[in-house]
């Protein structure tokens, strides 16, 4: 197992802005390998990855990313502290971070000649390089491997147990075990340095834990990295009732014996996902970050991505960012579909069903799908209300959802416009916090829509902005026939929507 190529990947020139259709994996300078957990600090998104000095990536919205120097630039010596280098080496790979009290703890890999390696600690108060308080202090090595023992002390993953606030670190990479130690919440160092680390898994790296509904989940990356589209990286998981394990997969196999239910493998235009990180946006919206070893739409380089995190049968499931297309938009509350408030025309026009038994075994002439060109002559040319009705395959009920270039975005996706299929009639948020369809898309914020997949697989739909308002509201079914905008309430179906292919 080697990861020597990873640093090379990161010297690629900044990427041009791409809007890849139909699958989108962030925008801007997204080249990254071994990303940390994405952390939100003062409204900005931060991620750190493998590379000389631990490169910093910042995004204002979670969609468009830029580079902002390295973490080590803020250390007096500009590199890991001497004790870290002595226990491991001078490389800087695969960091992770967490906030504890008024401090951030950054854990990073400092390998020498593997499996001799160490995990170092940096301590700082802010992630914002432009802040007057911005600086990092060397916290020394936290754990290390001597090159002989069954451990390769790289790839830290830090986790706070929400049941009691305790802090834990998992680490390791293929050679020997994935290990677990408890951390001191005030110093970031080991809480019990004399205790033997707990072995929790084998056959992986990039470990990290998350918690939900009484279960601790250990996610690790299996397979090979750092060889572009030939990397077999994939994210696997087990779960336990105790933070210390045993972590068992869906077939009852302990991760210490190689078990691991697949969370995410290669797919679409992406090869080799690895380095899971939880991005909990609150209000029931969870995302995860990872890198792909090869993004085929970007020449096969390694890139950061953020995707929806779903839950099914007690296991996390990797969701997919919203794809452009034409959909019926159905309320999970009412089962009725969003439509332009115009008089519908039956598909195929008014006609009977023929006699009972229809037109015979061979059936009649196929009826083509209805599109706006067939029926929109009678639609008003100006603004039209929006309502909901049983889905009847009619043109006023079909919406085309299209990403909008250079309009910003949110974690994982750009903003979308939502138009009646075959027209430029655009769903629009109004000043009185209601909805209207305007005759044309103008690109204004009230016509840009954020579509987040929720943990149950349904979607939350929010305008980028509401005219003359700072409120953040979501598309809501206030009645069977009536949509509106309202505060998102995660425990209700009011603001949950299904996008179905018509």
């Amino acid at each position: 197992m080697t990861r020597l190529l990873s640093a090379i990947l990161l010297v690629a020139a900044p990427l041009p802005i791409l809007l890849v259709s139909p699958v989108l994996a962030l925008d801007g300078d997204v080249g990254m390998h071994d990303p940390s957990t994405v952390v939100v600090h003062d409204g900005k998104f931060y991620a750190y990855g493998t590379g000389n000095g631990l490169p910093i990536s910042i995004s204002d919205d979670g969609w468009t990313w830029r580079r902002a120097g390295t973490l080590m630039q803020a250390l007096p010596a500009g590199r890991p502290g001497p004790e870290v280098i002595a226990r491991g080496g001078n490389n800087t790979w695969a960091p992770d971070l967490i906030r504890s009290g008024d401090k951030y703890f950054v854990y990073y890999s400092a390998p020498g000649t593997q499996p001799k390696a160490a995990i170092g600690l940096l301590v700082g108060k802010t992630l914002d390089p432009s802040s007057a308080d911005y600086k990092w202090e060397d916290g020394g090595p936290v754990v290390w491997s001597d090159g002989v023992e069954d451990s390769n002390a790289i790839d830290p993953g830090v986790f706070r147990d929400p049941t009691n606030g305790s802090l834990w670190l998992t680490y390791g990479s293929y050679f020997g075990y994935i290990r677990l130690v408890e951390l001191n919440q005030k110093t970031g160092q080991r809480l019990y340095p004399d205790r033997k680390p707990i072995n929790v898994a084998i056959n992986g790296e990039a470990s990290i834990m998350i918690f939900r509904d009484g279960w601790y989940y250990l996610l690790v990356t299996h397979g090979s990295c750092c060889v572009g589209a030939n990397s077999s990286y994939n994210i696997r998981m087990g779960r336990a009732k105790k933070v210390t394990g045993p972590f068992i997969d869906n077939m009852g196999i302990d991760m210490l014996q190689g078990g691991g239910k697949l969370f995410l493998g290669s797919g679409g235009r992406y090869v080799g996902p690895g380095h899971f990180g939880l991005l909990d946006l609150g209000a029931g919206v969870q995302k995860f970050s990872c890198h792909y070893e090869a993004d085929l739409d970007r020449g096969g380089i390694s890139v950061l991505d953020i995707r929806p995190l779903l839950w099914r049968d007690g296991w996390p499931v990797a969701g997919e960012n919203f794809r452009e297309g034409t959909y019926q938009i159905e309320s999970a509350r009412t089962g009725t579909a969003l439509e332009l408030a115009v008089q519908g025309t039956p598909v195929g026009g008014l006609r009977g069903r023929g006699g009972r038994g229809g037109a015979g075994a061979a059936g009649g002439t196929p009826i083509p799908a209805q599109d706006a060109a067939q029926v929109s002559a009678s639609w008003p040319s100006g603004p039209v209300d929006v309502r909901m009705a049983p889905y009847m395959l009619q043109a006023q009920q079909k919406w085309t959802v299209t990403p909008v270039a250079n309009a910003g975005g949110y974690p994982g996706s750009p903003y979308f416009k939502i138009t009646i299929a075959g027209t430029d009639r655009a769903l629009t948020a109004t000043e009185d916090q209601e909805l209207v369809v305007l005759a044309a898309f103008s690109g204004r914020p009230e016509q840009l829509w954020r579509i987040d997949q929720l943990t149950d697989g349904t979607y939350r739909v929010m305008p980028k902005a509401i005219p003359n308002s700072k409120e953040s509201l979501a598309l809501s079914a206030v009645g069977s026939s009536t949509p509106t905008l309202a505060k998102f309430t995660p425990d209700s179906d009011r603001q949950r929507w299904l996008f179905k292919t018509p």
Binding site: Q343, A389, E434, V478, G479, S480, S481, T482, T484, R494
Partner: protein, 230 residues
């Protein structure tokens, strides 16, 4: 509690208190789900439904339920000031050659059963339009509220003369089917008016106000006269 009168319903049994006045003056006996108001004003229950209404005997219409047909039906002038007047219980008027009367009703259930209403009066229930009106008294100006209705079949609704809801096509009464945009009830009386168009079969409606959290609006009273709505 006085002894109850047991009334068989099409869909079941309802127990009426003997003190409740019977429904609209009946040609076929009282409407089992309706009673005549016996007080000046009433307060909606926890579910918020408006149960006191003036209902005009049905007017014959085409019974088409498309958006345009219903809008045409409700915008036709059947009698003077039909969108502004507040009639009294028992008032009569002529629609073409037909004389129709307003009846004050209290609905026993959450919904006002127009089929019961018309059947009891030996009036048609198919291809008809019902005008209904009531007065909602707000103790103070109440903003951000919504009128939320369900109807069988299509219906159009006005609050203080402004059209706020239209739902069309053949449909059953579903609570909170059509919901208005946010509106403001002024302090004192507010007139809520609707026209319900039925093509055939059962016909009824329900209506309530929701507060700015989409909960049934509290603090209002309902009456049939402006001066009694408190």
């Amino acid at each position: 509690m006085s002894s109850p009168v047991i009334v068989a319903l099409l869909a079941g049994i309802v127990v009426l208190d003997a003190a409740q006045a019977p429904g609209p003056r009946a040609a076929r006996g009282p409407a089992p789900s309706l009673a005549r108001p016996t007080s000046a004003a009433t307060t909606p229950g926890a579910d918020g439904f408006l149960r006191r209404w003036l209902v005009l005997e049905p007017i014959g219409v085409s019974g088409q339920l498309t958006d345009s047909a219903v809008q045409t039906a409700v915008k036709t002038e059947y009698f003077p000031d039909q969108l502004t007047s507040l009639p009294r219980d028992g008032d009569t008027l002529s629609v073409g050659d037909t004389k129709v009367a307003w009846h004050g009703v209290d609905s026993i259930g959450y919904n006002v059963n127009l089929y019961h209403f018309a059947y009891a009066l030996d009036k048609p229930t198919s291809n008809v339009l019902f005008w209904v009106v009531t007065v909602v008294n707000a103790p103070r100006e109440m903003s951000g509220v919504r009128l939320a209705i369900g109807s069988n079949a299509a219906s159009v609704w006005w609050v203080n003369g402004k059209e706020v809801i239209g739902i069309y096509n053949e449909r059953q009464t579903v609570i909170d089917d059509g919901v208005s945009k946010r509106l403001t009830l002024k302090q004192g009386p507010n007139v809520v008016r609707a026209a319900i168009v039925n093509a055939g079969g059962h016909t009824d409606f329900c209506a309530r106000f929701l507060d700015d959290q989409d909960r049934p609006l509290k603090g209002i009273t309902v009456s049939l006269r402006l001066q009694e709505a408190r």
